[in-house]
């Protein structure tokens, strides 16, 4: 059975296999864009973010990115469970792109012939054509270039949306990421005063639905296609087997923990393309939080936990005040501890006795 929605989405897909030409812009618009300065940015794998200006220098420009889609086996937990991941540029999540409001994002998407499936990209930041999905569907062995204008500032999800049931399957197999469109004059607090960050980390959360065998062990498959039916069955139950940051249980802990220092201000961009999440920094706060991720709205202050709606990205700014190990978790603690949604911050610096002190060390209970 094919639902009406699936049929609509598949119709879009079918039309696209023939590779539609991009809509021609008016000659004047084309000339204006052609006259803009261009910048080529090399993306870096999360949790890191490519170098960028927080305040735009000069006027709008065309920012060029290239992402190569890689289908590849990835280990997603500490017992070696392996899934056939679908990735933008080889990482789950895909890399964070950063531009400024008014810039043009020009993405070249490459689907190497070694891949098994057609893919595309739907930018929640873009306007029209299913977020660009209609103009970017490419088969293995093809590439495509899309340009869209970054008209709204904020953090936005991008994800693969190749039609029908392929959409959720590609997304939970790893095909999502985020773009951050900064206001040209940078981030501002709730009173309009500028705020800046010393570091930025991108934490992409992903839910996996790995089928189990009769003994309850996670199964692995020879190919993506062979995993499809069983995986879809688990997905339809809506209970993920793994909820992870940066593609795997423990990907942001131990030697890979996020680093910071007392006095440093960190911006944490958190995306979840499919499912609700609720980030919480254990022992810290969100000083300024754009929960919905859109910088035209004033940030919320002093949050303990913030809500990331499935299909969105948010941003939280925090200045570390105390050294130590901080756990950054999805505060559904079952998901954090049992399913994997935990990252750690390792923060160096001087202890602030005023903020916290152990007045008396543990000792046997006084009897009189």
């Amino acid at each position: 059975m094919v639902t009406r929605r699936e049929a609509m989405m598949s119709a879009g897909l079918a039309a696209l296999v023939a590779a539609l030409p991009a809509m021609p812009a008016s000659a004047q618009q084309a000339a204006e864009i052609a006259a803009l300065p261009r910048e080529k940015v090399k993306l870096v794998p999360p949790p890191f973010v490519h170098a960028h200006d927080q305040v735009a220098r000069g006027g709008p420009k065309v920012v060029e990115f290239t992402m190569t889609i890689q289908e590849k086996p990835m280990v997603i937990d500490d017992i070696g469970t392996t899934v056939h991941a679908m990735t933008y540029d080889g990482s789950v999540p895909g890399p964070l792109m950063v531009v400024h409001e008014g810039d043009y994002v020009e993405l070249t998407l490459v689907n190497p012939a070694s891949n098994e499936l057609p893919h595309n990209i739907d930018f929640h930041a873009a306007t029209g054509a299913l977020g660009g999905g209609e103009l970017t569907l490419i088969n293995p062995g093809e590439q495509v270039t899309l340009r869209f204008k970054a008209t709204r500032s904020g953090t936005f999800v991008y994800h693969c949306a190749p039609g029908g049931p392929m959409i959720p399957w590609h997304v939970v197999s790893g095909m999502s990421g985020a773009i951050m469109i900064l206001p040209r004059d940078g981030l501002k607090d709730e009173t309009g005063k500028p705020v800046r960050y010393d570091r930025v980390y991108y934490v992409g959360e992903n839910d996996f639905y790995v089928p189990r065998d009769a003994d309850g062990n996670f199964k692995s498959y020879a190919s993506l296609g062979e995993s499809y039916a069983d995986t879809m069955e688990v997905m339809r139950g809506l209970v993920p087997t793994h909820v992870v940051f940066n593609g795997a249980v423990g990907a942001l802990t131990g030697d890979n923990a996020l680093k910071s220092a007392v006095g440093e201000t960190v911006l944490i961009v958190h995306s979840q393309a499919n499912r609700d999440s609720r980030p919480h920094l254990i022992g810290g706060h969100g000083d300024h939080v754009w929960e919905e991720g859109k910088f035209a709205n004033p940030p919320a202050k002093d949050l303990e936990t913030w809500f990331i709606r499935g299909g969105s990205a948010g941003a939280a700014l925090y200045t570390f005040l105390q050294p130590g190990i901080y756990a950054y978790v999805n505060h559904n603690l079952i998901e954090a501890v049992e399913l994997g949604a935990t990252a750690h911050f390792v923060v160096d610096g001087e202890w602030n006795e005023d903020l916290m002190s152990q007045v008396e060390a543990p000792r046997p209970i006084a009897t009189n």
């Binding site: 802990t253 923990a257 756990a327 049992e338 750690h344 160096d348 060390a361």
Partner: protein
């Protein structure tokens, strides 16, 4: 239920295990008089008495501040007879089949010669009690000090001794976290017997990727002088597992990974090996030695 239960065929044993899992309470078989042959005796290594410099497990405070664990010179006066290998999946399954042990958290198809893992401290003690009944000898978990003595150069202890900067409590957490740091790489599954080799005393697979339960309880100790103790609080709900590093685990935990707090590196797998108490003759010899002054020191553990 009679004493022939451990001789039941595999199918009957499986049925019994299933009945147990279903919540039936079965009498634990008494020690059989003649069928101990059903349980192959574990190969043991006899460790000579000796002295070791032992970093004491637990948390230590002086003047309300965490300090490094004291390292004490301990003399183990009696020879120690310890299993050469960790208790295997096959051996543990016999105890399960006999209805004296709960099934380990293991894949059903785990090879019988792998070390048993997915066992709690409670499971390990149940196995020791059953195994003692089967063999007519007293088997028990080693103390942490006995384990360290048997482990010799394989002994690691805590990766961080607990000392911290008095003005910065976070420094100890950071140091510990860095000492235990991991790459996030998947833990290897339990390895076939012998994979990690023998130590200089002939004990095999110590400090591989299976941590071993000991009988030693978690303690918090308040120190006054160099080694003087003002107060000790013992929590036997938490036991010490030794291995690639020392771990403090709630005793009902079977999966090391779920036993930790928000941070810290947990054991990859939890298993155990046992020590055998000296028989009557050996006990007499030891006592005689003490009486005659040949063994002046008390056993330290």
């Amino acid at each position: 239920m009679n004493t022939t239960s451990i001789l039941l065929s595999g199918a009957a044993a499986a049925a019994m295990a299933a009945a147990l899992a279903g919540g039936l309470v079965l009498a634990v078989p008494e020690r059989p008089a003649g069928d101990a042959a059903a349980v192959p005796p574990a190969e043991t290594v006899r460790i000579a008495p000796g002295t070791l410099l032992f970093p004491e497990p637990g948390a230590f405070l002086r003047d309300g501040r965490p300090v490094a664990q004291p390292r004490r010179s301990l003399r183990l006066a009696a020879p120690l007879e310890i299993m050469r290998h960790q208790v295997s999946v096959g051996a543990y399954r016999r105890c399960v089949a006999a209805g004296a042990c709960s099934p380990a958290d293991l894949p059903r198809d785990a090879a019988p010669d792998l070390p048993v893992t997915g066992v709690s401290h409670i499971d390990a003690e149940a196995y020791a009690a059953w195994y003692s009944r089967q063999t007519g000898r007293t088997w028990r978990l080693p103390s942490a000090a006995e384990w360290a003595h048997a482990a010799g150069t394989r002994f690691v202890g805590d990766l961080w001794d607990g000392a911290g900067d008095a003005d910065n409590p976070a420094s100890a957490w950071l140091a510990r976290y860095r000492a235990e740091g991991t790459t996030g790489a998947p833990a290897a599954p339990p390895q076939p017997r012998g994979r990690f080799g023998a130590n200089e005393k002939g004990v095999v697979d110590l400090a591989g990727n299976v941590w071993e339960w000991t009988s030693t309880c978690y303690r918090r100790v308040t120190l006054v002088g160099e080694a003087e103790t003002r107060a000790t609080l013992e929590n036997c709900g938490v036991r010490i597992a030794e291995g690639r590093h020392r771990a403090y685990m709630s005793r009902f935990i079977r999966d090391g990974k779920s036993g930790g707090c928000a941070v810290g590196t947990p054991p990859e797998h939890l298993g155990f090996r046992l020590v055998r108490e000296p028989g009557p003759l050996a006990r007499f010899a030891l006592l005689w030695g003490r009486l005659t002054g040949a063994q002046a020191e008390e056993p330290a553990v």
